[in-house]
Structure formats: structure tokens, C-alpha cells
Amino acid sequence: MTTATLETPSQAKPAKQKVILCEGNEAAALGVALARPDMVAVYPITPQSSLVEHVAKLIADGRMDADIVDAEGEHSVLSVLQGAALAGGRTYTATCGPGLAFMFEPYFRTSGMRLPIVMSIVTRDGITPQSVWGGHQDAMTVREVGWVQLYCETVQEVLDTTVMAFKIAEHHDVMLPVNVCLDGNYLSYGTSRVELPGQAEVDAFMGVKDVNWHVALDPLRPMAVDPLTGGSGGKGPSTFVRYRKGQCRGMQNSLRVIEEIHEEWAQRFGRRFAPLVEEYRLDGADYAIMTLGSMTGAAKDAIDEARDAGKRIGLIKLKTFSPFPVEALLKSLKNVQALGVVDRSVGFRWNCGPMYQETMGALYRLGRHIPSMSFIGGLAGADITVGHFHRVIEATEKLMTGPAPTEPVWLNEKD
């Protein structure tokens, strides 16, 4: 795996890009504009609201030629987009938390209909307790529904990934909806220097739009979309199985496509992001911690300090969470002796973080036992500081010699 730096510009020199200062939500909106969707449907919810406000303003100012639907709720937001996608439109929306929960009925269906809708999740913790702050609980809760989910670390990555998400979703080997997850509060409102790709270059990158070649509601090629399928007789069982299997194949195909498109992005725009799994200072590491999203910045600082202090520690960051990049992750874990996994959400059934739980599944395939433990932090807008990561590093280091705890460590419990 490659590392996330600006160190390797492509042979063909990328065009000079405009530099601006903006928050993550605005970066997402700018990414959407560059991708030229036909329709954006919106319903405001904290901490997503400024994102759709930016989109609305871009449209109002004529900087983005898209139809905007101010729907009466998230359920209709996604439904409107499904209709537009079936009619051939490129579509986008954003939501989070309770909005995503309300959207769940059409959300479940989007991947089954193989509609390449792109949706940002400005991640927010789940209620109750009532909360309007960041956390991955919303996106994690819907992780098993057939959407591709990509988690961003920086504001720049939010912008770039938002554009790439359309191309991933619409790839004919994928044809699945994509969530671009950006952490509520930290990325949504975090202001940062961003390079803005040129429209012409993005147009060249995106190619020709063709989003409903496989399923359409079009009088020029009439078909029944989603007839009653399944049951125990006739063609039912095999037809249903082929639908489901196709979805799973699309998910697996996306692992390759995500890598290819990130590579193309790097070639064209000079920024290379690890598509699936990022390794940070993993060379020579005996043990490692795993992170997701914006917490990685603080984690990398803690790793640097630990390395300086002589600890043989490295970092593994997931960008692609769904589909779970098992092979890529196993490759990164090849020399790792102990693993600490930090989640910003809760897996209630296993009493651990969801990423930890998923990773345990991958570890089973490793063929050797690695002691591991789950850390849960940053819930409902709480900080995970460099200090917290030092605690994570220390606890993970102890796994090398001591017993592994079965309980998760709740990082902010005593803050």
C-alpha cells in the first residue's frame, strides 16, 4: 500500500490548481459541483446543514447546473434521487444521524436497484441520548446494506473523494451507491487549505455519464423495475439469488475499482490517497493501532512521538470500510504482533467497536493469532487527543506480553 503524501506527482504534470481555504462541508459541496450532478435533493440536519447550504448557494449563483429539490424529509430526499437516477440523472445528497435512520427504507433499496447515487454522511452519533455531535454511529449502523462507504481523513480528501465517489459508483463493474463519510464537527466545520481541481480536468476525469444503462424508467425502453421477485417456486429463488449475488460481486469489484480510480486521480491531480488501507510508519513495527477518519491526524502525531521514543509502533488507517478490504488489511497485518483498534462508535452486540469486530473477522483469516483489543472514543463530539492515543499505544504494547482484555477501553470515560 502507498502512503498518503504529496510526494509523488505523476509524470504528466497536473494543471496548477487554485488554492482556497474552506471547511469540510464546503469542500464536499465543491466536489459535488465539480462532478456535475443533474439533481441534488436536500434536507437540513446538523452537522450536515452547511453542506447543503453551500450546494444551494452554488446552484443559486450559477456555479452549479443542477436541479435542487428541497424535500420534506430524508426519506423523500433519497426517493427523489432514485427516481432521477432511474431516469438517467447523476444524483447527490447528504445526511447523517437521525436523518439517515429515517432514510433507511429507501437507503436499503438503493443498492438493490444498483443506483449509483452518491451521498455524504457527515457522521453524527446516534440518539438517544440526544446529541447533535460527531461520531460514526450513524454510518456504522447502516454498514451492512450494500453501499460502498469511504471515510475521509482531511478536508482535501473530502473534496477529492467526493468527486471520485461518482466515478466509483457509476463504474459499470460496480453500479452501487457510495457514501463519502466525513466526520461531523471535525471535518465538517474544520477549515483547511484546499487545492481545487479545475472543472475541465474533472470533466476529463469523469468521462461520459451513463448511469441507467442497466435499469431505467424510460418510455423509450420500457421495463418493469423491481417486479415481485423470489418466493419458493418457479424462477423465484434463483432470480432472487442472482440479484443478491450480483450486489455482492459489485461490492467486491469496487475494491479494484476504488484502487484504479484513486490511482487515476493521483495521475491527473497529483494527490495520492490510500484507496483502501493506509499504512503509516508500519515498516519495522511490531505492533499497530487502527484508525478511521479524522482521528487519524492525532493518531499519526502520537505514533511519531512514540517512534521518536523508540517504540516499534505503526498505524493502519482504513479508508474503505464497506466493502471491508480484507485482503489489503491482511497484507498490512503481515508482520504485526499485536493490534489496538480505535472506533468512534459502538457495536452493541459484541461489546466493542464495529471496526474492531470486523477486523476480528479478518484476523481469523490471517492464520495466526494476534492479540488485539478495542478502544472506543470520540463519541458525540468528544475529542480523541494525542494523549488518548498514547494510552492506546501503551495498552496495545502491553498485549505483546500480557493478557488481552475482553472489555473495550472507553477512552473518554474519565475525561
Binding site: 427516481g83 429507501p106 420500457p222 424462477k235
Partner: protein, 447 residues
């Protein structure tokens, strides 16, 4: 071949033999009220009932075939059998050919005379003081519909006697092939309109939306086609449950945004496709499988639904939709008129058409009684037929000034069989109240 024509219909039960129709006819045709010279003749008696001797404008007219002079011809456009004075030779053979006494000698002229429907405005019809005569003009619809392509597959699997298939086929024929059809879960897709396991039941693009998001999905479709400059009708044929209950939010949202959708609700007053459960459109007192009849507990018997129906079309009026109307398959001409207006309205905004659809299975009445039940609903004012536009306000399209008692409607079906006198008087009271309420809206529109 196969044309349908307007016709004068006679309801023997309403005729008292007064002869006003004959006077009107004779006056219109020969200038004097001599009933013997009328071309419509009331025959029979008060004891045995009355009948008409009147030209039936037969499709295979014997009078025409036996005329040696070519004086009688069936007009292919109006369907009327025309008599030519210039060609007639007064031979009377036509009177021998007709078995219905529809053409006879007029002693005043020495020529035969027959009904010519007064060129489409028969004088006899308005003259009848008992509404025993009606001029049925729905033929236009059937002729036109016959020329349009049926866009559903043959053999949809509806319940016997259900009017929904009729409604679906007529609607889609009228709306035409440049349509995307949404049929949310319910009887309409249950009949097979979206097909099964990869088949389709429709010749236009059709889909199952969720029960909850029909209007929203259609909005997306319509907007996308508009964006690329294509004229496509976004049509929903939805059930009452999906529209008034769980789908109401998206319906209301789309109506508020004035999305260019034609949204038709087939109101069978419950979740009939899934086994006849109660919806918010189920009327008070009705048996459904979730408002069953039983002894109850604490001394309170269970006697059907305990709340009145939600009046969804009136709620849609309050969205100030481009067009809102109620309709019934017992009044197809009215329905078609509204369908045409709704189609036009849907080109500029949200058009909502609420069609009452008696459910033979769920309402428990014989399968041949669908139209009769639908008609009784209107004749008792249980259902009111009206239309609304923001410009013209609300108006009755078939006002019933002298309604039958609501029991005439209730007794037509099994779901109301258990009603107590109190329940019946509650329903009758609601009919009166609803009428007054709608009348008030009509009044408001007129000031």
C-alpha cells in the same frame, strides 16, 4: 364496426306514465302536443310497469335492411338511423322490419316517423319530471378509448368484479405510452402490473415504489426528464392506505412543491391486497380484518372501526394543488372529464384524482354489484363527486340534491351488516356533516 353511440336510457322504475316526454317530443317534432304523434311512446300500465316504444338506433337495424328505397341509413358518426323524406316512398316496410315499434306511421303526415335524438339534445329527456329518461353520452369515451392502445398486458389477476383493472386500463390508455407508472404495493401491482420474477405486466415503464415514497420517486423521474427536455407523464396509481397513511408525507411534500405528477388514488377504503385491514380511509363502523366484530371486553362490544374516515381529497385541496377531484367508476363520463383535466394539470403542477373503488372481496358484496355499490355511494352522498382548481375553487360535478338514505348504500354490502341503529345514525349524521362541510367550501369558492 364496434362503435358505441349516445343513447336515451329509460329507467322503468322511475316512470309513472305521465306522458310528459311524449308531449315534449310531439311539440318538438310536429309543433303540437299531440302525444299520438310523439316518436317516444310510453306503453304499459301502472300495474305492470311502463316501457318505451322508441327507436333503439340498432347496430344491425332491420328497418334499414328492409327499406327498398335507401331512405333509412345508420349514421356512422352519431349512430342515429336517419330517415330521408326525399327517398322514402311510404311503403311502410320498415315498420314491418322493426320488432320494437321504433318506427311507425305518423297519421298527421302520412309518412313514417322515428326518433332522431333531436340531433343529440333529445327534448323528451329534460321533460321527464322523474328522471326516468337520461341521455347517456359516454359513448364518446368508449370510441376514443377503443382507438388508444391498451398499455397493460392482457389477463391481470384482479378479484372477480373489481373495477380497478378497468380503471387502470382506461387511465393508462388515456395517459398514453410516454408515461412512467408507479404502482406502490397494493392491489394494483398485486394484479401483476409490475410483473413477477423478471416479467412485466405493462407496456410502459412501471415500478414498485415503496409504499411510502411514490410521490417522491415520481418527482425525481419527472424532474430529470424535464431537465433533459423530454415530455414524460409521471403517473401514480396508488391505494388509499399508501396515500393516506404511511405514504402521506411524501404525497404532501410533492403536492406542496407542486411537482408535475398525476397522482391517482384508488380508494377501496383499506389494505385490501394484504387481507382487508383498516386504513385511515376506512369508514366508521366498517368491518375489516383489524376492526373485526366481537363481544369485546369490559362490556363494550367490538363493532367495526370506531373512527370516521380521513378525507384525503379535501386535505389535498388544502395543498392548493393544480387540480384535485373525486371520481367514481359508476360515472365514467365524469371520471374521464376529470382524468383529462388532471392530465393537463399535471403538466404544470400536482394533479390529484381520488377514485372510489368498491372492493367486492373486502366489502363483502356480490361480484356483479360493483357499479351498483359505487352508484349508491354517490346517490346517498356517502361519496361526493367534485373537483377543485385554485382558480375556480371547489364545485360539485354531480350534485345529489335529493339523496337516498345512507342505509341504501350500507345494506348493499356485508361489511356494514352488524351496524347498530346508533352506528347507522352516526354514519347518516356524518354524511350530512360532510355535505355541509364541502358545500361551505363550494360557497367560499363562489364568493
Amino acid at each position: 364496426m364496434g362503435r358505441s353511440y349516445n343513447t336515451i336510457a329509460f329507467d322503468a322504475a322511475k316512470c309513472d306514465g305521465c306522458g310528459d316526454c311524449m308531449t315534449a317530443c310531439a311539440t318538438a317534432k310536429v309543433g303540437v302536443g299531440d302525444t299520438a304523434r310523439s316518436r317516444i311512446q310510453v306503453v304499459g300500465s301502472a300495474d305492470d310497469g311502463f316501457e318505451l316504444a322508441l327507436c333503439r338506433q340498432c347496430g344491425d337495424p332491420k328497418c334499414v335492411t328492409v327499406c327498398p328505397a335507401g331512405a333509412l341509413t345508420k349514421d356512422g358518426t352519431s349512430g342515429v338511423i336517419d330517415w330521408s323524406a326525399a327517398k322514402c316512398v311510404d311503403c311502410l316496410l320498415c315498420t314491418v322490419g322493426c320488432a320494437y315499434a321504433g318506427i311507425a306511421l305518423d297519421a298527421g303526415t302520412g309518412h313514417v316517423a322515428k326518433c332522431d335524438t333531436c340531433a343529440g339534445a333529445p327534448a323528451c329527456v329534460p321533460a321527464c319530471p322523474h328522471d326516468a329518461l337520461t341521455y347517456i353520452t359516454t359513448s364518446r369515451i368508449y370510441n376514443e378509448v377503443g382507438d388508444w392502445e391498451d398499455l397493460f398486458a392482457p389477463g391481470l389477476a384482479g378479484c372477480q368484479g373489481c373495477n380497478t383493472e378497468l380503471l387502470m386500463r382506461h387511465t393508462l390508455r388515456r395517459v398514453g405510452p410516454d408515461t412512467v407508472l408507479a404502482t406502490p404495493p397494493g392491489c394494483v401491482p398485486g394484479m401483476g402490473s409490475v410483473g413477477f420474477n423478471g416479467t412485466t405486466g405493462t407496456k410502459v415503464p412501471v415500478f414498485h415504489p415503496l409504499l411510502t415514497n411514490t410521490a417522491a420517486m415520481l418527482a425525481g423521474i419527472k424532474r430529470q426528464y424535464k431537465r433533459v427536455g423530454r415530455e414524460v407523464t409521471a403517473l401514480a396509481i396508488a391505494g388509499d392506505g399508501g396515500a393516506s397513511d404511511v405514504g402521506f408525507q411524501s404525497l404532501s411534500g410533492a403536492a406542496e412543491r407542486n411537482e408535475q405528477i398525476l397522482f391517482m388514488v384508488v380508494d377501496n377504503e383499506g389494505y385490501m391486497n394484504t387481507g382487508m385491514q383498516r386504513s385511515s380511509c376506512t369508514p366508521y363502523g366498517a368491518w375489516t380484518s383489524t376492526t373485526p366484530i366481537g363481544e369485546g371486553s369490559r362490556g363494550i362490544p367490538s363493532q367495526g372501526k370506531t373512527q370516521d374516515a380521513k378525507n384525503l381529497p379535501l386535505i389535498m385541496v388544502n395543498h392548493r394543488c393544480e387540480y384535485v377531484a373525486t371520481a367514481s367508476t359508476a360515472y365514467m363520463e365524469d371520471l374521464y372529464d376529470k382524468l383529462d383535466k388532471a392530465i393537463q394539470a399535471s403538466k404544470v403542477g400536482f394533479a390529484y384524482l381520488h377514485v372510489y373503488s368498491p372492493c367486492t372481496t373486502g366489502w363483502r358484496f356480490p361480484t356483479d354489484q360493483n357499479m351498483e355499490v359505487a352508484r349508491k355511494a354517490v346517490e346517498t352522498n356517502f361519496v361526493m363527486l367534485w373537483e377543485y382548481t385554485p382558480g375556480e375553487g371547489l364545485r360539485f360535478t354531480r350534485p345529489v340534491d335529493d339523496p337516498l338514505p345512507v342505509t341504501e348504500y350500507l345494506k348493499a354490502m356485508g361489511r356494514f351488516r352488524h351496524l347498530s341503529p346508533d352506528q347507522i345514525s352516526h354514519i347518516q349524521g356524518k354524511v350530512v356533516e360532510n355535505l355541509a362541510f364541502v358545500k361551505q367550501m363550494v360557497h367560499r369558492a363562489s364568493v
